[in-house]
């Protein structure tokens, strides 16, 4: 059997399905529902078996057209940085507030992607987010929590 990444993904999916199935069997149902033709665990159990079946088939059957990915040409560094920036953005958005975190997220993303036109970078972050925030908060009446703007008295 030729081991390639697709097979490894299928194996991981097989293990995931087995874990899902195990968890499905652990779902607590009401005592009167235990022997009912359908309860909260029935559908997940079917899904677990379906996952095992399809990933098992994918593991066993020969691969008609193997996908080859040239890892040397992949840009892992920039992708990783963007993901980290997005995680930091997610972690600070509630504590710091929508305006500042979103603007900094955009500004730093432009920077790490190689942009150096500072004025344009600024315009497409701080004023852009302010305008977007006005559309959501001011016009569409969608509340956006912003401790930073509240602390400087811009938002009530």
């Amino acid at each position: 059997m030729n081991i390639n990444t697709t097979k490894i993904i299928s194996l991981l999916f097989f293990i995931f399905s087995a874990f899902y199935l195990y968890t499905a069997y652990q779902i607590q149902v009401f005592a009167f529902d235990e022997n009912a033709p359908f309860n909260a665990r029935t559908f997940p159990i079917y899904l677990g078996y379906a996952g095992l079946f399809f990933s098992g088939l994918k593991l066993i059957l020969p691969e008609p057209n193997t996908i080859k990915v040239d890892h040397k040409n992949l840009e892992y560094k920039k992708t990783g940085i963007l993901i980290v920036i997005a995680i930091i953005y997610g972690a600070t958005i509630l504590k710091v507030g929508y305006f500042l975190t979103t603007s900094l997220f955009l500004f730093s993303s432009y920077y790490f992607l190689g942009e150096r036109r500072w004025v344009l970078m600024f315009l497409l972050s701080f004023p852009f987010v302010a305008a977007f925030m006005y559309l959501l908060h001011g016009i569409l009446d969608i509340y956006l929590r912003d401790p930073f703007l509240q602390s400087i008295g811009v938002m009530g």
Binding site: I9, F13, L47, A50, P64, N65, S109, E115, L120
Partner: protein
């Protein structure tokens, strides 16, 4: 009926109501373009405003918002691969690749004309068949719905090219697994939450679609060093925004639109089915009926592949008004919100609505057509300007896509957990996409998961745990046989190819 149509026309063509349709279409388009804010949000935002009007005017405004939001959703699907609503997911399969080839204006124009034609044809179907179709929609029972879901998921065969069937099926199962997270709809027992309160309500659709489409697309572009704006750079802004559709493309649309509108309308009529299944089925059917040469173009910017789901989702929007107006059963989440508004106006929908309140029933039907015309008039001139989004350099476009994705989730839940979950799903999806695991089957399965479990539950409980319900009713059996035929046809074609 003629009298009813005249009443409807008289009501719909008043200056105030035409203005309402225009305002509705305009705001709907803008709101629909913002990820996370679909037609349901758009209509919900309009409800307080509509209470100031009479019921017909209020509903006309909401219908305008509905169509506008669906069209707006198509725009973000085509330009950014960020479908904000389930009904426009299938639009991105060929709309986005077409836009990547520097034909963004053309893709938007095809979507606009197809939506218009789909909406117009379904308004005609609605005009003549609404009362009798309500009886047909009532004849659908849980086993039929369950079989229909299986058929819908089998349409994934349409997305899986050579050797992709098992990968697509794995994605279907993964989508259903994601949909099973959260409280069980009947017993309220929590499943797969691992004591995390944030998962109690399940994973939101917008989160999954943003993660697997918009965010993972942005990450894939960076990872593969692609430039989504490269094609746009090679053509002039005039060419990028050009809405000209040539004779060959028009002739393809002439064939696609009628059949997709019928599928869309019929699926839309079924309560709970809606625009998503309609668009996926229309896409799958279109791929199966075109010749081999055209079939190869699917997923790479096919005119048929773009026109079919766009026609079907708009036809389904009109179709979903049938169960709402004639039975009082909303055909989709959006029409459920509209039903609430209708009840708020003191209007009781049901089989006698078009006798007790003919001005409401017929004016909505007539305003649908007028709404379609206005939507087209409003949007066609704007397309060349909207298409210029693709001329924005990659270094700005990618962060903006990420920004819209995160904001879309943030305004829905206001918690960090959903953002982390979205990033996690996006990373996994990016990796899976590298190895050609298709995402559309995952999305369709995720959308259908809850409905599928619900209908299987009812069927099994009614048949006391026996699976005989699958062949007890002729309708269920016919749908299942169609499913088997589609799978068999797929395998037959694969063997022939080899």
């Amino acid at each position: 009926m003629i009298e009813g149509i005249l009443i409807g026309l008289t009501t719909a063509l008043t200056l105030q109501n035409i203005l309402m349709v225009m305002v509705g279409c305009f705001f709907g388009t803008i709101i629909g373009m913002l990820p996370g804010l679909g037609p349901m949000t758009a209509i919900a935002l309009m409800i307080p405003i509509t209470y100031g009007f009479d019921p017909a005017t209020g509903l006309i405004l909401m219908a305008g918002v509905y169509y506008g939001a669906v069209f707006g959703g198509s725009t973000s699907s085509i330009l950014l691969n960020a479908p904000g609503v389930p009904g426009t997911v299938a639009t991105s399969f060929d709309g986005y690749p077409m836009a990547q080839q520097g034909k963004a204006g053309k893709a938007l124009a095809i979507a606009a004309w197809s939506s218009f034609a789909g909406g117009t044809l379904s308004a005609i179907y609605l005009l003549f068949m609404a009362p009798s179709l309500s009886k047909v929609s009532l004849s659908f029972r849980s086993p039929d719905y369950f079989a229909l879901m299986i058929l819908g998921l089998t349409a994934i065969a349409a997305f899986s090219s050579k050797g992709q069937f098992l990968k697509a099926m794995m994605m279907v199962v993964l989508g259903l697994m994601l949909a099973s997270v959260g409280q069980d709809s009947l017993s309220d027992i929590t499943r797969f939450t691992f004591d995390n309160m944030n998962l109690t309500d399940g994973i939101s659709f917008v989160l999954v679609v943003m993660a697997t489409f918009a965010m993972s697309e942005a990450l894939t572009i960076i990872l593969k060093r692609n430039d989504p704006t490269s094609a746009a750079k090679q053509v002039s802004l005039t060419e990028l925004g050009s809405i000209k559709i040539n004779k060959e493309e028009r002739s393809k649309m002439y064939k696609t639109i009628p059949r997709s509108s019928i599928i869309g309308f019929l699926i839309g009529v079924l309560p709970g089915a809606g625009a998503t299944i309609a668009s996926f089925l229309a896409y799958g059917m279109e791929r199966n009926v075109v010749n081999d040469e055209e079939k190869e173009k699917f997923g790479k910017g096919s005119v048929n592949g773009l026109s079919a789901p766009e026609t079907a989702n708009n036809a389904a929007c009109s179709g979903s008004f049938v169960p709402m107006l004639t039975l009082g059963i909303p055909g989709s989440g959006t029409t459920a919100v509209m039903l609430g508004a209708l009840l708020g106006f003191g209007v009781q929908p049901g089989p006698r609505l078009y006798m007790t309140n003919p001005e409401i029933f017929w004016s909505i039907i007539m305003s649908m057509y007028i709404g379609m015309v206005i939507l087209l008039i409003l949007n066609l001139p704007l397309i060349p300007y909207i298409a210029r989004i693709l001329a924005v350099p990659k270094n700005y476009l990618i962060p903006l896509i990420l920004f819209f994705s995160v904001t879309g989730i943030y305004v829905m839940s206001f918690n960090n957990f959903d953002i982390y979950l979205m990033i996690g799903i996006a990373v996994v999806a990016t990796f899976l996409r590298l190895y050609d695991f298709p995402m559309p089957p995952l999305i369709l399965a995720f959308v259908l998961g809850g409905l599928m479990e619900e209908n299987l539950r009812r069927s099994l409980l009614l048949s006391n745990g026996s699976w005989e319900f699958l062949w007890d009713r002729t309708l269920t059996l016919c749908i299942l046989l169609t499913t088997i035929l589609i799978v068999a046809w797929h395998f037959y074609k694969s063997i022939i190819r080899k």
